[in-house]
């Protein structure tokens, strides 16, 4: 078990190393840096000074080694877009915004999704089931920025009951959370329905029915417990998914989160910020996957990870 976890962690470290090298090389192989001559004509001496300040005049491998050494100490450099801050500081300021939005989203999307799934499964092949299934297809298919625009047109433009964007008040969460939440909600509903229908025919459910438990007791005490297991697999990836999902939604509703800053970094070719964000996302994503797998094993003792792993 410990060996399995250590192996996975080593794998994550290797992946991060490769990701960082590839991004580093990609970003430096291409002409047109942040101090582009065309946009920002500078005297040669001033340019040399700036390049020296950011260490851009050193050979590539040395730049990389310096970067990684500092990164291991929590220093990802200075973002070009905001030279008074550090990349770590900027991420620490913007990530909680995205994180909070993500948590609010999941907090309403998961229970509602589960509820819809239970409703559909217990009334299989009725109009309720068909409606829920169709709506979940819509929720999974329509892109979140489309939903965001529709919400904005309805609530902010037509009915004028919500502002078109901004951040800081509770009502600023409503439209972003709905646009982000429909997909996880639909996914949860779909999985809950499928797994409830699967365990419906299981022996232990029949036994529970046979010993005289009511349908509701069987549903909540026996079926749900096992039906919820697959949810773990879809829940884990939803967390990092919310980081990328927020890219569009944060841009639309002018939310000062990580997604919006990532887009700004792309526009400005802010290498340190891009690199820092990508490494952070890769790390979070890999760790979440590891935890998901471990959790799966804890919840379902039939799953043995260490044997399957190669």
């Amino acid at each position: 078990m410990i060996r399995y976890i250590l192996g996975r962690l080593l794998g994550i470290a290797l992946v991060l190393l490769v990701v960082s090298i590839v991004i580093f090389l990609l970003m430096h192989a291409i002409p047109g840096g942040p101090f582009d001559e065309a946009k920002m004509p500078l005297p040669a001496a001033a340019k040399a000074n700036i390049l020296r300040k950011y260490g851009l005049d050193k050979p590539l491998y040395e730049q990389y080694a310096r970067y990684m050494w500092a990164a291991l100490h929590g220093d990802f450099g200075t973002p070009f877009q905001s030279p008074t801050e550090s990349v770590t500081g900027l991420i620490a300021r913007t990530w909680p915004v995205s994180f909070k939005l993500g948590m609010v989203t999941l907090a309403f999307a998961l229970p509602l999704g589960m509820f819809a799934g239970v409703l559909a499964a217990t009334r299989q092949n009725t109009w309720i089931d068909y409606t829920a299934t169709f709506l979940s297809s819509l929720g999974l298919t329509i892109p979140n920025f489309v939903i965001a625009v529709w919400l904005m047109l309805l609530f902010a433009v037509h009915w004028k009951i919500l502002p078109t964007g901004g951040w800081g008040h509770w009502y600023n969460y409503i439209m972003p959370a709905i646009s982000l939440g429909l997909a996880p909600m639909a996914l949860t509903a779909r999985y809950t329905r499928t797994s409830l229908l699967e365990v419906k025919r299981a022996d232990y459910v029949r036994t529970a029915r046979a010993k005289g438990l009511s349908s509701n007791q069987v549903l909540w005490r026996h079926s749900m417990k096992n039906a919820l297991i697959p949810l773990i697999t879809i829940l884990g990836p939803q967390i990092p998914n919310l980081i990328t999902g927020t890219i569009f939604v944060e841009s639309i509703f002018r939310i000062p989160g990580l997604g919006k800053f990532f887009v700004t970094s792309i526009f400005r070719r802010d290498y340190p910020m891009i690199m820092g964000t990508l490494l952070l996302v890769a790390l979070v994503w890999s760790i979440v996957y590891l935890i998901t797998d471990l959790l799966y094993m804890v919840v379902d003792p039939r799953v043995r990870l260490d044997k399957k792993s190669s």
């Binding site: 794998g11 991060l16 490769v18 298919t141 990092p240 990532f262």
Partner: protein, 299 residues
Amino acid sequence: MSATTIHPEETPTMRTNLRHRSLLSDALRRFSHNKLAMFGLTIVALLVFAAIFANLIAPFPYDEANVTEALQFPSGAHWMGTDEVGRDVYSRIIYGARISLLVGLSSQLIALMIGVPLGLAAGLMGGKVDWLVMRLVEVMTSLPALMIALLLIAIFGGGLVNVIVAIGLVAWLDACRLLRGQLLSLRERDFVLAARTIGVRNRRIAVRHLLPNAIAPLIVAITIGVPTAIFTEAGLSFLGLGVNDPVPSWGKMVGDALPYMRVYWYLGVFPTLAIALTMLGFTFMGDGLRDAFDTAGSK
């Protein structure tokens, strides 16, 4: 499954098979009985029609700006109104079908050109090659596809071609993984064992027996990959990191409309409807195809 193995010399028998119950006719029947799938097919057909005949259907050229007619609400002359520089929104939506289909199909083509050889190599050769390919896949999946695409755009710049390439470069993973998985499971099937027993060589087994059986799931994967690509293009262009200005991209139309939407609501409504319908069409069609070919999962 072995019934789908198509040998050129067997074509006549295939025809009679089709008339009876071949996998293909079964799949087609299942597909045509699936209402959602047929709905999807209808939308996709309309989209293809609009894309091919855009210059005949659209009342105006997509890039004809007429500042005196800027920001006009929908009317008889401009069914969906005009945008901030006076271009006809309806015409741009029609031409936008071309861009969406172009991006969706060509990025999937790139994905196939990368994913199929890698998946083949991993699934057929196994061993070190497989290990290497799977590690590459692992590195790629450690980051969200959208972020990798954004990174590529940051480095190589936007524009239609770069967007297509960037989407293709992140979309090959599915094809690769799927093909590898298919090959690994097919290798263990009885008909492959039978072929091996009568002395068929490895290369022939791969080409004649493994590949034809892996193609149906691959086609389904592409169909499901197309809307993802269209969505990504729309998203990138929406952010202003995708195609450049005169190109009529639905995503860009939405992004450009954001500052005007408070008053000129129609600028937001029509392009988003186009995106949503296209996504639904392709997804329903793809799901329908998957269900139709999935013999194990059928009721």
